[in-house]
Structure formats: C-alpha cells, structure tokens
Amino acid sequence: MALLECESLRKSFFGVEVLHGVSFTLDRGSVLGLVGENGSGKSTTMNILGGVLARDGGRMRLDGRDYDPRGPKDALAGGIVFIHQELNLFENLSVEENLFIGGFPRLARGIPFINRPAMRRRARELLEQVDIRHPPGTPVAQLSQGERQLVEIAKALSVDAKVIIFDEPTTSLTRREAERLFTIIGRLRGRGIAVIYISHALGDVMRLCDDIVVLRDGAVAGGGPRAAMTTERMIALMVGRTLDQLFPERSSAPSATPVLEVRRLSQPGVVHGIDLTLHAGEVLGIAGLMGAGRSELARILFGLDPFREGSIAVCGEPVERPTPQLCMERGMAFLTEDRRGEGLLMHAPIAENVALASLDDYASPWLRFLERTRLGSEVERMAQRVRLRAADPKGALVKNLSGGNQQKVVLAKWLLREPRVFILDEPTRGIDVGAKFEIYKIIDALVAGGAGVLMISSEMEELMGMCDRILVMNHGAIQAEYRRGAFDGERILESAMARRAEEPA
C-alpha cells in the first residue's frame, strides 16, 4: 500500500484555478522526482501537502488514513517535513540548539533547565546519521551551505519524519556537497523514509528518483518510473504547448546600432567574463536557472552592485563607475524581479509611483517646486500608453491593483524617462496570461521605438516567443547563445543545466 496518495488536488487563487486535479502516489522507501517549469504548480502542490495552503478539492491519504492538514503543525505531526530552499536555521545558535529549538530535553519534568549532556548525546546520534563530523556545539554560522542542509535533515530525523520534501536542494551546493546529499537521501530511502525531490537539475532527478512526475500548467503532464523516462522526454513534457497565439507578432527587426555593450565583466563569486551587446530595437533574452547570476548581472549593470573587472558602455559612451542615478541619466531603466519590494511604493497612488523616477525633470527652474500640472498630464499620457486599467487611473493605490496593472505602473514610471536601454527582470512573474500578452505588446512597442530590451526570464516560452537572441547563463557565465529561428527549448534547458566544466580562473 502506498504511504501517501494524492488524488485530484485542486486549488484556486482569487477565482483562478491554478491546480487542476494533480494526482500521484508515494511509496515507502522511494524517491519521487517532481519536475516542471516555474509556475507549473509544484510549490502549490507541496504547500497543500505541507499544510501551508488548504486545498479546494481532491483528497489525500497518509498511511491509509485520510490526511487533512489544517496547518504546518498537522503536517509535522503526520511526519511530513519540508526542507525549503531557504533553510530555517538560526545562524546565531549552535547545531544542537537548532536541532532541539522546538523542544529541548529538560533536566527533569517541570524544571526549566536544558539538559545539555542529553541534548549533546542525542544531537551526536542524529548528526552521525547525516555524516556531520562537527561537534554538536558548533555555531551554525560556521557550517557550509551543504552542511546546513544536512542539519535540516537531521532535524527531520529527530521528529521521525515519514516523508521528507526537498525543494531545489542543490542550487546553493557545490557538486561535492550535492553528492554527499544524494548519499544521505539514499540512506533515508533505505530506512523506509519516502522522499519527494523537486528540482530543475534533471540529471540529478534521473539519477536519484524511482518515479518521476512532470507538472505543467497546474496538471500532471506525464510521468512514470525512471526506466521509462529520459531527460529529453521530461523537457518535452515540461515545455509542451505551442507558442503561436501567446505572443504578439514582433513588429520590427533589430538594428545594428549597439545601445549597451558589456565587455569581460567580472565580479568574483557572482559573474565571470560577461560579454554582451544589446542593439537598438532588439530584445535580448537571458535564460538560466535560479542562482545562475542573471539578476546579479542586472544589478551590476544598473550600478547597484560593484564589479571588479570589465567595462560597460551605454549608447557608445563608457560608464566608468555606474550608480543608479548615472545609469538613469544615460538612459537606462531597470525593472526589478521584486515588484512589490523594490519596484513600487505599494501604499502610494498610481500617479506618485509613475512620477517617482522623473521628479527632477518636472521641477521649476529656480526654486525647484514641482510643476504638478505638467507632471500630471504626462503621467496620464504614460498610463494610457501602457493601457493601465484602474477605476481611478491616477489616485488608486498601487496595492489594490492586479499584478499585471502593477507591472504596467512600473513600466509607465520608466517610460516617462524615455530610456534607450531597458533591463527587465522577470517582467511577467506572477501575472496572468491576458496581462502577460499586454506586457509583451508594450515590450514590442518599446523596441519598435528604437530602445533595446534585456529580458531576464525563467519562462522558456516567453523568451522564445519574444526575443531576437537568447543568452544562457550558467554558474555566473554565459554558456551559450541562440538566435531566433534556431531556438530550441530543449537545447536551451540543457545549456542552462549543464554541469560547467572546470574553467580557468
């Protein structure tokens, strides 16, 4: 009998169904690989399993009994432990304290003192099972990422986990640390613990998992035992669908005039030898896995983070020491991946957000008072240009807008400055399909007007649908370049996931 059965799980957010009946089973002592693109429903499924979200339909059975978690505590009580990408450890405490922070062994019942010798003994046993050789009193701050992950596993063992869910466990690990993790996962399986392994690293999934489930658009696109799977088939299942109707026809072709030139750009530990040229009228995509250095590159280009070597030139003019102010003056715009946190003043009205980056241009010559009428009419013009839809197109608070309209506000803010270079980091993240299409149309209009767009995205289809060229980043360097017409989703994914060979320092 299966340990865990999930049957047609459904979930809707704000009336939009994002999970359309996901089913799978998990056997004792087996590893289930769960793969799919970002937004395919992996996290939602796992959050339902972990009790973070309530399901709208379907049923789950754990150990032959109905499993109906009301919160994370129920999941934990049922023996389901979630090891997140960002670990939940306290760096200021020791390893043993982290293991027992939820329930320390006491000197005696009713006495509020920690039984340190007992804690140490039990911590040693647990750490031994995950091959950590450090003394239990070592501060977590001194452990490597890989070791911290093993501490999380030890924590799971301390509560007698039946199911351990790993979410992208290898992204911040070195290869050697990953190998160590796989050994431990093998050992967990041997003890009858079931593992759900979520990862973009398909090679690892093929090696590690007994069964594989591929999700796409909130439904199971396919799956089966490892023997019946290949990496190529997984990618085909993940990407799926025809692209034609999802993207607007591109209305212009790129010119030969470069607007952004980056040469040998390096920052130790972040990016290495980046060479790229963005032309006027071009959409240049940057593909890559989470943690490949894409957003970090964008931040460096916009002067938010330093770089050690290399050069950046905007519209032919070198930018010696970029700061955001300087980059903006030279005609750059940067739409960050964190719209709510970095792109918008959520509690301010639309007009204030749109005007934010241009206030200096609308100040009167001497006393520097804000020319509100001139600014107001320009803001209105921009709102129309991005087809912003809100009951009150100027006064509505940004926090009350949909994700798509919020992103339009960010775009309008930058359009007001008439930039030549747009860096768009995940421009359609968390936006529904209809609004995505409108964002794509705005991007098309931008490049038709002679701007260059550098588009970072985790959605392969979006890159293939919109870009003239796609650069693939992998471990901080550019791994491959593909031109429109030669786009091949599988090959791009392969480049993004390739284990990078030893490279010169």
Partner: protein, 330 residues
C-alpha cells in the same frame, strides 16, 4: 576563502575586542593621571555606581536580543520608586525589591500589549510610555522629592560577607539572567526569535509569548534598578533616572549586543556598564570639567553604535550568498 574575506575576518576580530581595548586604555589613562583611581576601594565604588545601569542593561539585553527596544526603563525606575516611597514607605527592604520589580513587570506587560498584540513598533510604544509613565509618577508625587527612610538608606552602607548589598543584588540579577539565557529553553528561544522570527514560529516557538516575556523582564529589571539606585541617593527628585534608557542601551551595545537582534549576552552588557561607569568615575577623580561628562559619555555611546553597525556589515559581507563556481571558490 579568498583574501578579501580574510581581511574582513581580521577586522571583525578587532571590532569584537574593541571594547576590551578601550577598557584597558581608559584604566591606563586615568591610572596615570591619578593615584586614587587605581585604589581597590575605587573599583568597589565603580561596581556599586554601575550596578543600577548594569541591571537596567541586563533587562534591556533580553529586549535587544529579540531585535526590540525598551525606552521606558528610566521611567519605570522612577515610577516604582515613587509608588513605593509614597504608598508603601514602611515596607521592609526584603519586600520592597520584589514589589518594585512587580511594578516593572506590570509596566512591561503594558508595553508588550501594544507591541505584541497591536503590533505597534517597540520604539514608538516605549517612547510613548516613557512620557506617560513619567507623567503618572509626577502626578503621584506632586512633583515633590520622594524621601526614603533610614532602613533603606542604611542598605547602601550595609555589607554581607564583606560585600555591599548593591553588588549582591547586581550579582544575583546577573546570575539569574545568565542562566536563563544560556541554560533554559526560553533563553535559547529568545535568541532564535531575534535571529529569525518566521523560522522561530515554524519551529513551534510561541513567538508572542517570548516577546511579551522579554518586555516584562526588562520592566522587572528596571524596578530592581530603581531600588538599587534609590538606596544610593536616598531620595528621588522629579528628574530621577532621566535618560537612563540610553545608558542601558549603550551598555548593552558596548558589550556586544546587536541592535538587530540575536547576538550578544548579559556578560557583555555588564562589562559595558562597568566601562561607562569607569570613565565617569575617572573623570570625577581627575577633576574634569563637569560639562564634558556628557560629551565623553555620548562619544562612547556613539562609538558603541558605530562598532555594532560595522560588525553587522562585515558579518553580512562574509555571509552573503555567493554563487558557487563548483569547487573552485571553496
């Protein structure tokens, strides 16, 4: 590890030991300027004089460890002293200490109600209660001096086993706080909440309870500090314990407690309090112009906050997520 990180680690080591170096420097300077400064009796005096700030700072440490702040502690000292001095003047000292601590606990629970339940920023809440509490105390005392009786005052001179009572109380509070922070589940959970409240909640820690407790503890310490302080001066004017919250925060930060939560301990705080008092004591002994006392003290406070921010910045730089280039950077 590359060299940049090694450099950062070295600077971190220096910053970590900066207060100790400062302490030795202070002793050397004042010791050269005056023979009286190095007299053992003077060190006992320093300990007695620093005891109330140290006790305040110990309570403050609990709050700071959760990344909070309690600005109302000076007010609580005055309020407790005023209440006890006027309404329970005959209370024997043995009962006066717990009674004043209880006043502080009630006040701390009031702070915690606004901070934990109503989620108002601790800075704002305790800034407000600082004024509310002092207003209340002024109303109780009609702004007149509160005099304490001889049985309380005699404590200032009294000794037990050759050690003055003020130091005994100081030591008892310190020991209790140290054991609580280091050897009880509650203490370790205080550290956990300060480092990452979300992860703490996920680990099953009752975060609101921990936060409530730290403000109650800070209040209790302020009450006890009020008692210790009033035994030394004998009476409380309306300016009693004004701005003591700054001394308490300064002592804690100087002793290595981070304003951002999760780092530091009560031993450091006690060290910080003694350091500040040593400087003030030294200034008195060398007959420095009284007008420069606040300048020197505030410079030390500034130094403390500066050192803390540097330390946090370097820690962050060392800990920043790096994209691994396979084994090469490891």
């Amino acid at each position: 590890m590359d060299r940049a990180t090694d450099n950062a680690r070295l600077r971190l080591l220096l910053l970590r030991n900066a207060p100790l170096a400062l302490f030795l420097l202070v002793i050397a300077v004042f010791g050269t300027l005056s023979d009286r400064f190095l007299d053992p009796q003077n060190f006992t005096n320093i300990l007695i004089q620093s005891s109330h700030v140290a006790i305040l700072g110990i309570g403050m440490t609990f709050v700071l460890l959760t990344a909070g702040i309690d600005l109302s502690v000076g007010t609580v000292m005055y309020l407790a002293v005023a209440l006890l001095g006027i309404h329970m003047a005959g209370l024997p000292p043995l009962l006066a200490v717990p009674a004043m601590a209880a006043v502080g606990v009630l006040f701390g629970l009031l702070n915690a109600f606004f901070i934990v339940r109503l989620r108002v920023a601790a800075f704002i809440v305790t800034l407000a209660t600082l004024f509310v509490g002092r207003g209340l105390a002024l109303w109780i005392t009609n702004t007149r001096m509160v005099f304490y009786q001889d049985q309380v005052l005699s404590l200032a001179r009294a000794e037990f086993l050759g050690v003055p009572w003020a130091i005994w109380i100081f030591a008892a509070v310190f020991a209790a706080a140290w054991v609580t922070l280091n050897h009880t589940p509650f203490g370790r959970q205080v550290y956990a909440v300060g480092a990452n409240p979300e992860a703490a909640a996920k680990a099953g820690i009752n975060v609101p309870l921990v936060l409530t407790a730290v403000y109650a503890i800070s209040g209790a310490c302020a009450g006890v500090a009020g008692f210790v302080s009033v035994t030394q001066v004998g009476a409380a004017a309306s300016s009693f314990a004004v701005e003591k919250e700054f001394a308490a925060v300064a002592a804690a930060v100087l002793g290595g407690v981070s304003l951002f939560g999760g780092r530091g301990g009560v031993a450091g705080t006690v060290f910080g309090a003694v350091l500040i008092q040593t400087v003030q004591n030294g200034l008195v002994i060398v007959n420095a112009d009284p007008y420069i006392y606040p300048l020197v003290t505030s410079s030390i406070i500034f130094l403390a906050v500066f050192v803390d921010s540097q330390r946090s910045r370097i820690l962050e730089r060392i800990g920043r997520r790096r994209i691994r280039i396979e084994e090469r950077t490891v």
